[in-house]
């Protein structure tokens, strides 16, 4: 599949992974086989890394999310990589970035309660030898995630019929 078409396919799936291969093929002007093949190649190459559903858990339970900044002293040339591999193994860690600026890792952590997260940060993250210090920020309200507005459903403000 040519590059431009592949990028379009990825943009469509990024916005709505529920689109069927049939619909995607029609929308892209390609055949169903082409689309299905391309998707499986992209999955194998780990360009498509998974399919997620955006859920506003706040409406369902009282789970807590925190963003934790980690400052570390990495050992050796691939120190960040090694540390990242270790940190991302924790099931509580849902997102992990290496950052530029005042700290090194940004870790998004989920838990049932503030206490659970606090214990995880102090007990598991802060106790890693290379970790110098941690700063934990608890999230209060999620307004937008991955480009999707979590607050209000978009209303079509256009008039019903216009020239």
């Amino acid at each position: 599949m040519e590059r431009e078409l592949r990028d379009q396919l990825l943009r469509l799936l990024e916005n709505n992974s529920k689109l069927s291969s049939q619909d995607l093929a029609v929308m892209l002007g390609a055949t169903v086989e082409e689309v299905a093949n391309e998707i499986s190649v992209l999955e194998q190459e780990h360009v498509i890394c998974g399919y997620h559903t955006l859920i506003d858990w706040n409406k369902i339970n009282d789970d807590v999310t925190a963003l934790v900044e980690l400052r570390v002293t990495p050992q050796g040339g691939d120190g960040y990589q090694k540390l990242a591999e270790r940190i991302k193994e924790f099931p509580q860690v849902v997102t992990l970035y290496l950052m530029s600026g005042a700290y090194d890792f940004l870790v998004m952590v989920k838990g049932k309660t503030l206490k659970e997260i606090s214990l995880f940060v102090s007990g598991k993250l802060a106790s890693i030898h290379e970790v110098q210090n941690t700063t934990t920020h608890f999230t209060l309200t999620k307004y937008k995630e991955f480009g999707v507005d979590f607050e209000v459903e978009k209303v079509d403000e256009r008039m019903v019929v216009t020239p």
Partner: protein
Amino acid sequence: MKELLSQKILQLKPSGIRKFFDVANEVPGVISLGVGEPDFPTSFHVREAGIQAMQSGKTFYTANSGLKELRKEICIYTEEKIGNRYNPDTEVMVTVGGSEAIDIALRTIMNPGDEIIYIEPSFVSYLPCITMAGGIPVPIELKAENQFRLTKDQLDAAITPRSKALILSYPNNPTGAIMEQHDLEELLEVIQKHNLLVISDEIYSELTYGKKHISIASLPGMRDRTILINGFSKNFAMTGWRLGYALANCEVMEQMNKVHQYAIMCAPTISQYAAIEALRHSSEDVERMKESYNQRRRYLYHELARLKLPCFQPEGAFYIFPDVREFGMSSEEFAVDLLKQEKVAVVPGSAFGDSGEGFIRISYAYSIAELKEALLRIERYIQRKREELA
């Protein structure tokens, strides 16, 4: 009261779209495919430029023809797109939407009894604007079998000694038709032989799919006999800002500016600042919108083919124009019945001129999810109708 009013205006038919709007607006839970404007809000950076203009107190009139900076950007953009060079000081005018430019152009060229040839089906304003300007409207009925393009023979047949100008509007609302270079070239001989002016309304110029938009003003000998109209509404998703523009030879523009100056003074200042930003930094946004329209266009065309509704494959704008004559109703009856039974609003083709009778305009300025739901309802409706007719 009526005896005090203008006969010309009293005799003007109200817009068919307006009439249908009043019906559709009363139906709760309606899914509308009847809208003639983008579903995308104006790009955020353009909105910010508007806010910035307001905050820094850009609240005064501009020059009649618009901010010089904006006129310059319009000329750069136009040259980049169609190759024509216009002088920003004397050959450009910023207007209140493309609609004002149509009105101004017609009023500037018209002498009583002049005939203005225009294509149908087309945007609702041409006929009334011609009439109000004191001209005689001469519609040419375009045919689905010609892909709703204007042919040389059709134009030739419409010419009389009183023919003054031709209005072209491609990419076309409501049909989605375009005119390719060879189609336009065919017309040149007739246009030049009869010394016609051309008013070319190219408000959807960015929205062609697969084929590049060609402006008739860019063809040999046509720059100076064409009043080129464009705007920000459709190409840059800026309908509510009310901003368009006209480009023409300086002799024509000088006169157009007089009409504009006395009628309007100048286009809204805040919008003009936002438009500068739109022209400078929107090429990627425009590409993304176009990509999305194209996906929906393919989807809709595919679905209508599946439903076996005869339909010309549109190549521009964001409309598709299927033929509904098999149901034995006028397009207005069809649209009203579909609205009542399945709560889907489409626009009857007759709203765009008599030759639109038998067709409906479906807009694809909607998300795929909305199109899907609407098509489910349309499918249910036409199946029921076909069973009734069988």
